[in-house]
Symmetry: C2
Subunit: 154 residues, 2 copies
DNA sequence: ATAGATGCAAAAATTTTGCAAGGTG
DNA sequence: CACCTTGCAAAATTTTTGCATCTAT
């Protein structure tokens, strides 16, 4: 099977896993759409169009696997669907956060954190890490509110 | 029906809603356990013990309602269950965030944000608000990692 | 009295699991 | 060739909905 990112292939092999067709397809979806957050359903439909043999179970199993490996990250915006996006550790994905409209579910990606903010977060993570003996791997920041459209509609 | 928090009752009446027994019981669960995050199931079991007549549908409908009113807030820690906790706007609930172990699901509440951090967030919210015409109501901050126990077990 | 709210049970929707068959290293 | 993965379909879970009945106001 044609492999994707060689680093990922290597990590998989090291842990006795295999780079299969299904996994490569799903990885490509994320790599080719950085900054997008897909639900399992969406991944299924896209992957299925590429290779109609791929089933739901494989999608779920692959998403779990990639999340465990830290390649993608789970997100939930409150509509009941789990979403996934590529981790910022991967392929120069810029650090970003989300603005979620609690009315219509619209999500805006927000990247303009200043250096000041980044430093602060680094500091907080370090403190938390020590205080609670937690090995912190990343953080999720969401601002919740009402978007332009929904605000006007009232 | 004996009402709980008068402010909430007032708001409900203003919007043509009613303070029912089920709603009062559920509100009490949150008010009496500030800082805890309940799943719908947990709320159901507690409420059901207080009044066995309460059904699942009512719990879900009430949780949605209270979330819409901004009294409780939806949270998801990645285990597939939606959780709810009282909003910090309510009953002097201190502002806090969460440390989530991605291995065992354990959640630690974290409250020690400094003034510096609070100011920064206020500033960021204001900027975002203007830039994206979003009416920001609150934010969710989660740090994800591996807790003490899970880290050692490996 | 009257609209809003509830409870029950059935339906939807999402995610997980078991197992034989297939693919990767 | 060994054994990790997959696909399928069935099961488990969580959440939503319809409708007759009940109940705050």
């Amino acid at each position: 099977m044609r492999r994707g990112n060689p680093w990922i292939c290597k990590r998989m092999r090291e842990e006795g896993m295999r780079m299969t067709q299904a996994r490569a397809i799903i990885l490509n979806i994320f790599a080719g759409n950085q900054g997008e957050h897909f639900s399992a359903q969406e991944i299924f439909f896209i992957a299925h169009r590429i290779n109609p043999g791929i089933g739901f179970a494989t999608v779920y199993r692959t998403l779990d696997l990639l999340a465990q490996m830290g390649i993608i990250q789970k997100l939930e915006f409150g509509d009941g669907l789990t979403r996934y996006e590529m981790t910022e550790a991967m392929e120069n994905v810029p650090h970003h956060h989300h603005l979620v409209c609690t009315e219509c579910g619209k999500v805006i990606d927000y990247t303009e954190f200043t250096d000041e903010e980044k430093e602060l977060f680094a500091k907080v993570e370090k403190e938390l890490s020590e205080k609670y003996k937690f090995k912190i791997k990343n953080h999720i920041i969401q601002f919740c509110g009402i978007c332009n459209n929904c605000g006007e509609r009232r």
